[in-house]
């Protein structure tokens, strides 16, 4: 039995090393002045980090633009889904099946395919949907539907929305009041989880913004793309680590929140 466990720990150890090595290399490279020999030169050097924080306005502009391009679709998608949930909870529970089916389509119709199918339909047709920004926002809103649906739906189950609605009705509250003053505030964790997961997905998107926008939108990802194309150096490494840190923070936050929600559920069922 004990021997077996040793085998398992070896598997885990090897996995950790393999998974962490690329991250470490990128990190070390960022703190050097170059890496043309076995050891990186001038390690540790903070030259490029200083430059990143004090002399790279373009990078931070792009990060901000990325955030803007992510936040608007997330809001659109959330609002649409909350309104749908209102109808499902209050009047038409049967609608749930259809909404779920639709929301799961983006799992199969991934980024590239969805972007090009929207392009074929609307590009250059002169309609309101032909506007690239509207196109990008809409595709982004659609691509995150699986996360948004799951996040809200699970939370709705967890807070036992149906019972709340019935109780509120007995006490004389109107449907709209109950939903927006009682149910939605109780769903804030679900909304936050959905928003964070979606943010992680959109912030790292490159194909959609590239295909739909061409070179119109400068996001954090297109910035990294241009950097890698123009030259390969420790400076790029610092940008990459910075973008990674942003995504990682978001991912950790959503992971923690999800656990919190799960814990709450577990306590409730007790």
């Amino acid at each position: 039995m004990k021997q077996n466990k040793v085998g398992h720990y070896i598997v885990l150890g090897v996995t950790v090393v393999v998974m962490i090595v690329p991250v470490l290399f990128t990190l070390i490279y960022g703190f050097s002045n170059g890496w043309l020999d076995i050891l990186p030169s001038d390690f540790p050097s903070f030259t490029y980090w200083k430059e990143l924080f004090f002399d790279s306005p373009l990078f931070w502009q792009n990060v901000l633009r990325s955030i803007y391009l992510c936040v608007i679709p997330i809001i659109i998608s959330l609002v649409c889904m909350i309104l749908v949930m209102y109808t499902i909870v209050m009047h038409m529970p049967k609608l749930d099946g259809l909404i779920q089916t639709i929301s799961m389509i983006p799992y199969t119709l991934r980024g590239v395919v969805l972007a090009i199918s929207v392009l074929t339909l609307y590009a250059g047709k002169g309609t309101i949907f032909s506007d690239r920004t509207i196109m990008l926002f809409s595709v982004y809103s659609v691509i995150i539907l699986p996360f948004v649906y799951r996040g809200l739906r699970n939370n709705l189950y967890a807070i036992n929305a149906k019972q709340i609605v019935e109780a509120a009705e007995l006490l004389g509250a109107s449907g709209i009041y109950t939903f927006f003053r009682i149910i939605v505030p109780n769903m804030l964790t679900g909304i936050a989880v959905a928003a964070l997961l979606s943010f992680g997905l959109l912030f790292t998107d490159f194909p959609i913004v590239k295909l739909i926008g061409g070179n119109r939108y400068e996001t954090a990802q297109t910035f990294l793309w241009n950097q890698q194309r123009s030259g390969f150096g420790p400076k790029t490494s610092t940008y990459i680590i910075m973008v990674f840190l942003i995504i990682f923070t978001i991912a950790t936050a959503s992971y923690r929140l999800q656990h919190k929600v799960e814990k709450q559920d577990a306590e409730k069922t007790k």
């Binding site: 998974m19 991250v23 309104l83």
Partner: protein, 288 residues
């Protein structure tokens, strides 16, 4: 009158769902239909035809991209599944404390995909990569035949970003294996390997198959990493599809649509096969 009122009411109830349906129909369903239609349209005459599919399956560059994509994704998926199974097994067998320190590491690597990953691999295994230098200094020729910029060479990247996703998806499946079963089978004289081949794996099978289809879909649609390492000329499906629409010289949207439909079909076939497998394993009475 009563009927009308009822009807009006249900229309009113549906009013809040309008924005959602505008979004879903306008940017999911209609585009998809138009893409399928366009894939069956002859670009010169506008009539219904299979000419685009014919092009996809006969012209060298397209055939190569289909073949390369399938090959890379299948090999990567197979390796990822086997490796992740043993990793998830190790996490499961060593208990809850492992999960606590191991999952954050998976979280790190999962979020390191795309640009960062491509960059790191170029740094390590590229033309002047660290390991190449190291092996040269040591006099080893291990990496001499390896090129990161080839279709075989990028498979390690696919494996690297596939593993964290796969482990994360597999772990819940292992929870279906009760520890008491293991104890009971040991008492009855079953070896550890015997337990896993006869009891453990059949029970985790539904999760394994579900995960397999996700991992396959994820690798076959990978864009960013390949785009950087092999460039926009890469003969791989997602990249080829992208160039059919880009500002490049040879924009051929109809062929791009046909390639997309082919890619979706591949994903769906794997998904359906996995679902059939799930049913069969459930029928054998091993589902919990």
């Amino acid at each position: 009158m009563h009927f009308l009122k009822k009807k009006l009411k249900s229309v009113l109830y549906l009013a809040p769902t309008i924005p959602f349906f505008i979004l879903a129909i306008g940017f999911l369903i209609l585009p998809f239909i138009s893409m399928v239609r366009s894939s069956f349209t002859d670009p010169s005459s506008g009539a219904f035809s299979f000419v685009n599919y014919q092009t996809c399956f006969t012209k060298g560059a397209y055939v190569a991209s289909i073949k390369n994509s399938l090959q890379v994704s299948c090999i990567a998926t197979a390796v990822v599944m086997v490796a992740s199974f043993f990793i998830a097994l190790a996490v499961f067998s060593t208990g809850i404390t492992t999960k606590k320190w191991f999952m954050p590491i998976m979280n790190i690597s999962q979020n390191f995909a795309g640009f960062p990953l491509a960059f790191a691999f170029i740094l390590m295994l590229g033309k002047q990569g660290f390991f190449r230098l190291l092996f040269n200094k040591l006099g080893s020729s291990l990496l001499d035949n390896y090129s990161l910029y080839s279709y075989e060479g990028i498979i390690p990247l696919y494996i690297w970003f596939g593993i964290p996703l796969c482990v994360l998806l597999l772990l819940p499946g292992f929870d279906a294996v009760h520890r008491e079963w293991k104890e009971a089978s040991t008492l009855l004289g079953c070896s550890s390997a015997g337990f896993w081949t006869r009891i453990g794996i059949p029970n985790v099978m539904p999760t394994i198959l579900g995960t397999l289809s996700v991992v396959f879909a994820d690798s076959i649609t990978t864009y960013t990493t390949v785009y950087i390492i092999i460039s926009s000329n890469a003969a791989l499906l997602p990249i080829k599809i992208g160039t059919m629409f880009g500002g490049d010289l040879k924009a051929r949207p109809e062929v791009g649509c046909a390639l997309s439909v082919i890619m979706i079909m591949m994903i769906l076939i794997v998904m359906v096969l996995c679902n059939i497998g799930k049913r069969i394993s459930a029928k054998r009475g091993v589902s919990v």
